[in-house]
C-alpha cells in the first residue's frame, strides 16, 4: 500500500491549534503548505464527520485561511474603489455587516483566487482568501491597489478562524455569545462577545453547503484552545465532533463549491466555471473584465458539469473524461464518493455539447472506461427551514 498524500519535507506552517489536533489523534496532511487535520479517526473519521455536519454540527479549524483588510486612506470611497477594481462581484451593493462570494481575476479573466468580501464599514473591507494562495494574493492586492487611496493590511496570522457548521450550529454558538444569531442572515455578519471576548467577528458563512458560522478570535495559543474547548462543550448535547479537511472537501463538493486549482485556476475563466452570477459586468471596469467580454462573445469551449458514476468506479481529480469512442473530451476537477447520497460524484470540464443533463460521459479510471452521466448540481442542497408544521393528521385521527 502506498498513501497518495505523502507529506513533503519542505517547511510546513501550523495553525495555533496544531498541537490540539495531534492530541485528538488527527491524521495530518500537508495542504497548501499547511500541516492540517484531514480527519480524526478516534471520533469516527471522515464519513462520520461529514454526516455530523449534514445532520447535527461539526467544528473545523480553518485558521489557515488568509485575511486581508482594505481601508480607505484620506479619501472616502478609496477602499470601495480598490475592492471594485480587484474583484468581480459588486461590493458597492454590500451593506455594512454583509458579505459576498467574489473572486480576484487576472487580466485574462482567469482566477487569482476566490474570496469572501465582508463590508466591515463604509470604508472598510475584509477579504477572506485561500491558504495555498495567501502570499500570491496579498502581493496581488498590494500591487493592484497602489493607485487607490487605501491601506492594505494582512491580518491572516492575527486570527484563529473556527467554522461551526451544521443545522445545530446556531444553537451551539448561541450559548457562547450575546449576539442574537437569529438576526444574522446567510452571508451576513456581526461583532459580538464570544466566550467573554468582546468584538469577535461572527459571520454566517461556510464551505459545507450547510447552515453555519465562522468566527475569528485572537490567534494566541491559549485563546484558540480555550474557544475550541468551549465550542466543543457547548455542542456536546448535539453530538459535535471535530472535522477535518477530508469532510470539508466532500461537503463542499456535494454543494458544488469551487476549490482553487480544481474547479477554478489561473487557466480557467469565470464563464467556464459557471460563476456568472457572482460576476457583475455592469458594475464598471475591473481587472479581467475586458477579457471576459471577449470570452463571452467567443463562446465557451468547456463548461463545468456534475457527474454521477453509473458504472462501478470512483472518478478522481485529474482523471480524463472521454466519449464512447474513447476520445478525450475533458477532465475531472474533483471526484469522490458522496457520503450523503451514497453515490460516486464528480465535477468535470466537458464541451458545452456534452453538458446537457442526462448526457453519457465516460471517465477513464486506470485505463478502463467507466460510464457516468451529467446530473443537476448542486448534488446536495439543504432544505429550507420548514415553517412550523400543523399538528400531524395521525394525532387528529385518534381524537
Amino acid at each position: 500500500m502506498e498513501a497518495a498524500n505523502s507529506p513533503t519535507l519542505s517547511e510546513v506552517r501550523k495553525t495555533p491549534l496544531n498541537a490540539l489536533h495531534r492530541r485528538l489523534g488527527a491524521k495530518m496532511v500537508n495542504f497548501g503548505g499547511w500541516d492540517m487535520p484531514v480527519e480524526y479517526p478516534p471520533t469516527g473519521g471522515l464519513v462520520v464527520e461529514h454526516k455530523a455536519v449534514r445532520g447535527g454540527v461539526g467544528l473545523f479549524d480553518v485558521s489557515h485561511m488568509g485575511d486581508i483588510r482594505i481601508r480607505s486612506g484620506r479619501t472616502p470611497g478609496g477602499a470601495l474603489a480598490a475592492v471594485q477594481h480587484i474583484s468581480m462581484n459588486d461590493a458597492s451593493q454590500l451593506a455594512i455587516g454583509q458579505a459576498q462570494y467574489s473572486a480576484m481575476l487576472y487580466p485574462q479573466g482567469t482566477f487569482v483566487d476566490d474570496v469572501i468580501v465582508h463590508r466591515l464599514g463604509e470604508d472598510d473591507f475584509l477579504l477572506v482568501i485561500n491558504a495555498g494562495t495567501r502570499q500570491k494574493d496579498i502581493d496581488w492586492v498590494r500591487q493592484n491597489t497602489k493607485n487607490f487611496d487605501c491601506v492594505v493590511e494582512e491580518l491572516s496570522d492575527a486570527y484563529t478562524q473556527l467554522a461551526i457548521q451544521g443545522p445545530r450550529a446556531a444553537e451551539v454558538l448561541q450559548k457562547l455569545t450575546d449576539a442574537d444569531l437569529g438576526r444574522i442572515k446567510n452571508y451576513w455578519f456581526t461583532h459580538g462577545t464570544v466566550c467573554g471576548m468582546k468584538n469577535v467577528l461572527i459571520a454566517r458563512t461556510g464551505y459545507t453547503g450547510e447552515d453555519g458560522f465562522e468566527i475569528y478570535v485572537p490567534s494566541d495559543h491559549a485563546t484558540s484552545e480555550q474557544v475550541w474547548a468551549k465550542v466543543m462543550e457547548a455542542g456536546r448535547q448535539f453530538g459535535i465532533i471535530p472535522c477535518g479537511l477530508g469532510a470539508r472537501n466532500t461537503l463542499r463538493l456535494e454543494a458544488k463549491m469551487a476549490l482553487y486549482e480544481h474547479e477554478i485556476s489561473d487557466t480557467i475563466n469565470v464563464w467556464e466555471a459557471g460563476l456568472d452570477r457572482y460576476c457583475k459586468m455592469e458594475k464598471g471596469d475591473f481587472i479581467g473584465r475586458a477579457a471576459l467580454e471577449r470570452a463571452k462573445s467567443a463562446g465557451l469551449t468547456r463548461t463545468l458539469v456534475g457527474l454521477e458514476m453509473v458504472e462501478r468506479g470512483i472518478a478522481r481529480d485529474g482523471y480524463c473524461c472521454c466519449n464512447e469512442a474513447g476520445e478525450t473530451i475533458g477532465v475531472v476537477t474533483s471526484g469522490s464518493p458522496s457520503p450523503t447520497l451514497g453515490k460516486n460524484i464528480a465535477l468535470a470540464y466537458v464541451p458545452p455539447a456534452m453538458s446537457a443533463i442526462g448526457t453519457v460521459v465516460y471517465v477513464e479510471i486506470r485505463g478502463q472506461k467507466a460510464k457516468a452521466q451529467v446530473v443537476p448540481t448542486p448534488f446536495y442542497k439543504r432544505a429550507r427551514k420548514a415553517a412550523p408544521q400543523a399538528v400531524v393528521s395521525s394525532t387528529a385521527r385518534t381524537l
Binding site: M1, E2, A3, A4, N5, K27, G45, L46, N249, I314
Partner: protein, 133 residues
C-alpha cells in the same frame, strides 16, 4: 490489532499467509488505519499473473486511491468477491475475512525476503514516531 505470527509482511504494508504453494494476500491493520474508511476495492481475476513488487489492484478510501503491491509472484487462483459489496470489511478484519487474493506461488523463496511479525511491528512503530514528530 495483533499481527499474526505466521504471516510475512512487506514495507508497503501487505501481508502474506503461505500454506503449501498457495499464498493468501491482504493489507495490514496499519494500512487500513492509514487509509481510513475503505469504499472501493479493485482486484485481478483468477488466472492473472502477479509479480512481486508490482501493483495488482487498488483500495480506495473516500479521500484517496492506494495501489496494492504483490509481496510475491504467482498466478491468482481466487479474488475475494465479498469485498465487492462490502469493502468496509477491510477496516474491520484486515488480517482475516478481508483477505484480497490467493496466489499460486511461482517462487517460494521470495517469502524469505519479507519481514516476520516482530520485524514488521518494529517497522510500523518507527512509522508511528515519524507521523507524530
Amino acid at each position: 490489532m495483533a499481527y499474526p505470527a505466521n504471516y510475512r509482511y512487506t514495507n508497503q504494508h501487505e501481508w502474506v499467509d503461505a500454506k503449501g504453494d498457495v499464498a493468501t494476500i491482504g493489507i495490514t491493520d496499519y494500512a487500513q488505519h492509514e487509509l481510513g474508511d475503505v469504499v472501493f476495492v479493485e482486484l485481478p481475476k483468477a488466472g492473472t499473473k502477479v509479480a512481486a513488487g508490482k501493483s495488482f489492484g487498488t483500495v480506495e478510501s473516500v479521500k484517496a486511491v492506494s495501489d496494492i503491491y504483490a509481496p510475491v509472484s504467482g498466478e491468482v487462483v481466487e479474488a475475494n468477491g465479498d469485498l465487492h459489496n462490502a469493502p468496509e470489511k477491510i477496516n474491520s478484519d484486515p488480517h482475516g475475512a478481508a483477505w484480497l487474493i490467493k496466489v499460486r506461488l511461482s517462487s517460494a523463496a521470495e517469502l524469505k525476503s519479507l519481514m516476520d511479525a516482530a520485524a514488521y511491528e518494529a517497522f510500523v512503530a518507527t512509522k508511528g514516531k515519524e507521523a507524530s514528530a
